[in-house]
Amino acid sequence: MTGLFVAALIAWLFTRALLGYPKPTTHYRRLLRGEAAFVEAACGVMFPAGGAIPLAGTEVGAAPYLDRMMDASKPRIRALMHSLFFLVEHASLVFRGPGRGGRRRFTRLDPEQQLGVLRGWETSSFFARRLVFVSLRSLLAMAYLQHPSVLRELGIAPMAIDTSVCEADLWMPRVGADPSTIPWSVSDVNTPRDDVEPLNLDSPLHPDYAEDSS
């Protein structure tokens, strides 16, 4: 009887915790299906549509961005990021979120409940909980603030700069590339001078951040 109860409990926990995530439309190298759903949900709650920056967190491609970041990280850092997503996604199964039906994983809560859960982490009197919140919010903010539309809206998108070619660039290949691929020659060297014009609001944006780029 006890065995049956334990098996049922495990099955219930398994269903609640790990099943039922939507199939992602993108292939992720590092993010698991549930993590991608969590990242998109948390980013949507952290950055709702409207306000000073119209774009919502669900529109910036947070999951693909964090997948790229995880891919660029060392295994130990990746493990910490996996743990962070797992923790916040499932903590509300133990410490219930606000309102009716609050004992569900984060991605199954209503947006108001999700915001309540995040505020609970943010305002906790326990430093460790606040640290978890700051870590998560930092990652979500990175994902949100990398989007060209968001940066344009804030007026802080990178400007176009005619990158100078200095003498060192004559021997510096792209990372991982062979020196034979270096495109510069001596005649390209144009080390910056002191009389160059500072950038200003009228300076053109970098092509990747210009209006028609996204």
């Binding site: 920056i53 970041m69 660029a72 021997w171 510096m172 020196p179």
Partner: protein, 514 residues
């Protein structure tokens, strides 16, 4: 090879060019190409010595710079920029690239104040480390890099508002001197200077060293210092794949002299992993200190457009003897977002205030707050423990109050000090008074471990320090350290110029002895 004839004589090894295990012979092998290692390597090759400079990171040209703060950190920083101390949890960074931290710092160059060097000299038996003794070395580095105060036309409103606030209060302030030529005020120092204005080590000292005949091994991780008796004979390690760090080939450099300049957090780990070298004093990895930083954001009625202007263009040394330095700051917005309070729409609205805001920071000379560096059981990353002393918490809170004071004097209507447990926004100086009257635990502060020191400290007494004034390890005839780990205490100001001045002196000492 390239078709460029200038490139023919350059002995730079990049990952794509390694074909198998190899051994090099040198008079001197220098480990680490940051400000310390680059200056030593250049100084020695200029003296006609055969120098091999070894760097774990790759050369990173502008085409590989990332605008996005998160991705930039993931690629240019060890542990993806997510390294933290234990004890008092504080993020701290160390770059992994040719040129080390100089590639992604804001190029601040400040000479250590006379009172600091006098204290080092007196308390650590370092008679030749006074300001008078070091000034010729500062001068040599300054002339080479073109260190000069940030000109007014690239300051931008964010920096000039700081000056105006200081002026209104009667506090001293000054344009920050930087190793920069032809800055356009793009504010991109932390993700790599696209203008090539910043004279980071890869395009200055390392470049000149290569031209003078040095061999530079990039993507080469030193894992062991070879020693026997009181002498070292070289280093060995692995060629590693850029960004992933996967080991590929083995290498070894045999040398008459070894200089470790891997940084305050990596050099002690290398010594520990090499069988506990140079540690008769028991000081390797001990005494770790930082300049913990705090920052406040002020919002003004008019647009500030904080992305324009030198990343860090103005500073105030008004409170330097009190124990903190105030300065302006700009970084990728993702970095600032960490400091903002709130979540949901409230957080988003605060982000919307960015064009009207400026962020200024303070670094504390927190000599009472001490930690240690230890090698991990696996891997080469350090395990850092460090604790912010309660009196230093008070010091940083006072610094935050001074920042709020300057913000309001400059016309800000709102200041966000970023202290948990205190009001998120302050609208008057009276409201900000709580910053200096209210006691908070260290965990309430959002800290940044800006500069790290002292883990292989210099001391005249071999029982109390790892290296002597020339940077030579007390326990070895031919092993030197040339990074900020040799500082005996916090320098109270940004350490790069002092580190380079000491490295310049070390190069001269090695050349004389060899």
């Amino acid at each position: 090879m390239t078709s460029n004839p200038v490139h023919q004589g350059i002995d730079l090894r990049v990952f794509a060019r390694y074909r198998g295990d190899f051994t090099e012979e040198a008079d001197v092998v220098v480990v680490g190409s940051g400000p310390g290692g680059a200056v030593v390597a250049h100084g020695l090759v200029e003296k006609g010595l055969r120098v091999v400079l070894v760097e774990e990171g790759p050369p990173i040209p502008p085409a590989d710079f990332e605008f996005d703060g998160g991705m930039s950190m993931a690629r240019t920083m060890r542990e993806g920029g997510l390294r933290t101390t234990r004890g008092t949890v504080m993020p701290t960074m160390q770059a992994i690239a040719l040129g080390g931290g100089s590639l992604v710092n804001s190029a601040i160059c400040v000479r250590a104040p006379e009172f600091v060097l006098d204290r080092w000299s007196r308390d650590y038996e370092l008679n030749k480390t006074t300001r008078t003794e070091l000034d010729p070395h500062y001068d040599a580095v300054g002339a080479f890099l073109g260190i000069s105060p940030t000109p007014e036309d690239v300051q931008g409103a964010r920096n000039l508002l700081f000056r105006d606030g200081c002026d209104a209060l009667g506090y001293s302030s000054e344009p920050i001197a930087r190793n920069v030529r032809g800055c356009r005020g793009s504010g991109e120092c932390f993700t790599g200077c696209r203008s090539r204005a910043k004279q980071s080590m890869d395009i200055s000292y390392v470049h000149e060293a290569l031209e003078a005949g040095a061999c530079v091994l990039t993507s080469a991780r030193v894992e062991n210092v070879l020693a026997s008796g009181h002498r070292v004979s070289g280093v060995e390690g692995h060629v590693v794949e850029p960004f992933t760090g996967r080991p590929r080939y083995r290498f070894r450099v045999n040398a008459k002299v070894v200089v470790l300049a891997a940084g305050c957090m990596a050099t002690p780990v290398l010594l520990q992993k090499s069988g506990g070298l140079a540690n008769r004093s028991g000081q390797v990895g001990e005494n770790l200190r930082f300049h913990p930083g705090v920052a406040a954001m002020g919002t003004f009625p008019d647009r500030v457009d904080p992305q324009f202007g030198a990343t860090q263009g103005y500073q105030s040394l008004e409170f330097i003897k009190r124990g903190f330095k105030l300065e302006t700051l700009w970084a990728p917005p993702t970095i600032f977002a960490v400091r903002l309070p709130g979540s949901g729409m409230a957080f988003k609205e605060r982000l919307g205030d960015l064009p009207y805001s400026a962020v200024w920071d303070a670094i504390g000379s927190c000599n009472r707050s001490v930690g240690r560096v230890r090698a991990r059981f696996r891997g080469n990353d350090p395990k850092l423990s460090w604790k912010l002393h309660p009196e230093d918490v008070g010091l940083l809170m006072e610094a935050l109050y001074r920042l709020a004071e300057i913000f309001f004097a400059a016309g800000a209507h709102t200041v966000l000090p970023g202290v948990s447990g205190l009001p998120e926004e302050m609208h008057t100086l009276e409201a900000a008074d709580v910053l200096r009257t209210h006691e908070v635990p260290a965990s309430s502060l959002v800290l940044g471990g800006n500069h790290a020191f002292c883990s292989t400290r210099m001391h005249g007494d071999p029982r109390r320090g790892v290296v002597d004034e020339s940077g030579r390890c007390h326990d070895f005839e031919n092993l030197y350290v040339a990074d900020t780990g040799i500082f005996p205490e916090c320098p109270s100001v940004n350490p790069m110029w002092t580190g380079m001045a000491l490295a310049h002196r070390t190069a001269g000492c090695i050349a004389d002895r060899i």
